[in-house]
């Protein structure tokens, strides 16, 4: 098993390994193996197409958490220029599970807020596996209010298993911090575009996800509770996570059909991690496109449409 690939990606991994081996052989021998490599590449592509054309919601849930999936700072690096990270909630701490700062999107100043996961173990721990504490949400609130003051559009990137269930987080008012952000974001007088780039984990995701436009990458997920959490409560066992993932409808496609997601952003063949640069380019264009549309609206129109959008999730048929 290649640990950088999920189980259903293993056949692809094996082919990729073979191609790599042949390439190395090719470098120090006279035999012309270009043809063989090309043959294997085509096979790998069609195999990937086949596998990815029929993914179950649970497969997608695991792709959303893929160890090699691009994180918020990867997108910041590829999409924006002139990024200055800004730290701290001004009252308790800086939470590394949420990053924020000013940058430019194709030259235009914007405010960026996003969950941040770590790649290696020490970084994962530092980022608390992308699970924010109240100070993370309060930092986000501070930066978003500042964005409103200086008329910067807000772009948020969602990628969290959820808010951190810890003693200190409860002591410092996790519920209030999340609730306050929902209220704040519903009235900020500046466009807000949110993109779920990985896991959209419940209230911890929504706390930076109240917006004018919600985009989801093709293999990202968004749900009220993790499939494992839902399974262990309703099915009494986390092993039923695949069933729970399907029942809740956690995928971008399903949420688009429910009217929750405005736009599904296509990922490169095999997922964002197979070609982060291409993913970033597609996302950049989608962000710019949505921002251009939102900038056509007056502030009153913007807020009215946002309120309509937020209160639309009714009990009707």
């Amino acid at each position: 098993m290649n640990p950088h690939f999920l189980d259903f990606e293993q056949p692809i991994a094996e082919l990729e390994d073979k191609i790599e081996e042949l390439r190395l052989v090719g470098n120090d021998s006279d035999i012309n193996i270009t043809e063989e490599i090309n043959r294997l590449r085509n096979k790998s592509t069609s195999l990937t197409e086949t596998i990815f054309s029929d993914l179950a919601p649970w497969d997608i849930a695991r792709l959303a958490r893929h160890p090699r999936r691009p994180y918020t700072l990867d997108y910041v690096e590829h999409i924006f220029t002139d990024f200055d990270e800004l730290h701290g909630d001004r009252s308790f701490a800086d939470d590394y599970a949420i990053i924020g700062g000013t940058a430019r999107l194709n030259g235009e100043p914007v405010m960026i807020i996003g969950h941040q996961k770590g790649r290696q173990i020490p970084e994962k721990v530092k980022r608390n596996f992308g699970m924010p504490r109240p100070e993370g949400y309060r930092k986000a609130a501070r930066l978003m209010e500042m964005a409103e003051r200086f008329r910067l559009p807000i772009l948020t990137f969602i990628d969290t298993p959820g808010a951190y269930p810890g003693i200190g987080a409860e002591e410092r008012g996790q519920s209030e911090a999340i609730a306050a952000n929902l209220a704040l974001m519903s009235r900020l007088k500046t466009p807000i575009i949110s993109t779920v780039v990985g896991e959209g984990g419940s209230g911890g995701a929504l706390a930076i996800g109240v917006c004018d436009r919600l985009m989801m990458l093709q293999f990202s997920t968004y749900a009220v509770i993790s499939p494992e959490g839902c399974a262990s409560i309703l099915w009494k066992s986390a092993e039923h996570a695949p069933t729970a993932a399907a029942a809740m409808g956690v995928t971008a496609q399903r949420l688009k059909s429910l009217g929750v997601t405005d736009q599904v952003v296509a990922e490169p063949l095999g997922g964002a991690h197979r070609n982060p640069e291409e993913m970033a380019a597609t996302l950049s264009a989608a962000l710019q496109d949505n921002l251009n549309q939102l900038k056509q609206l007056s502030t009153d129109q913007l807020l009215e449409l946002r309120y309509k959008k937020l209160t639309a999730y009714g009990p009707g048929r």
Binding site: S175, L184, V224, L258
Partner: protein, 304 residues
Amino acid sequence: MSSWLDKIMPGMNRSNAHQKSTVPEGLWKKCPKCGGFLYRPELDKNLDVCPKCDHHLRITARRRLETFLDAEGREELAAELEPYDRLKFKDTKRYKDRISHAQKSTGEKDAMVVMQGSVQGVPVVVAAFEFSFLGGSMGAVVGEKFVRAVDRCREQKIPLVCFATSGGARMQEAILSLMQMAKTAAALEKLKAEGIPYISVLTDPVFGGVSASLGMLGDLNIAEPNALIGFAGPRVIEQTVREKLPEGFQRSEFLLEHGAVDMIVHRLDMRDTLARLLAKFQQLAPPVLDPAPMPIEVPDEPVS
């Protein structure tokens, strides 16, 4: 229903199981906290607060509204709203069946009842959660009823009070239940902008999506004594941090100490306290408070 709740909040739902055998039905009830025998008429008069240990027992949404609002001039709002299983959700049971079972056992259409009326003469709209309806969980009907309550307050410039008791978002409505958090928060922000007061009363228990939206957004957040209130459930936290939770963790008194609630108010003082507060916020004269109730004569306790 008790089992999944028990899983996220152990001990929360244990009250009914072991009482029935020892206590005669009807006239006597056993306090789930101190185990003392409670004389039903006395308990009724005491608004289901144990006269021996002061434990605040859970009460239904309707009893909450009836005991909080003035008797005259009550009007129920949005009573017609019914849940709809848009996702065709099925776990070990169909959501549709869970709904009809909950409707039969509670007599309510969903987990919230809203009424307009007055408290000590101060006009008010009151929303109350029904915990017995799928753990008071918030789905699209609860969110919509809450927003209708806010809308009525905005139309008539009268304050809003919400009595929350809820396990959080309703999983069977998946993402649509999550969106109720944003929906209710957005509506409250409008109310706030118009200078209309909102008092959130947190009663045992309030967790998850309800705590992290309308529950904590009051101009005043008020808790009943010893209510369990938090974002993550105690068991989830214990499993995550792998240490024993401190004594009194997530209780009202803990929240007061950590600055999350403005005050703790005894159920018997709720009408007076809220009426006095709302009258001040609304620039009204001090309300005329209820006379103190006459004590009830309690017969000898049954022998167990």
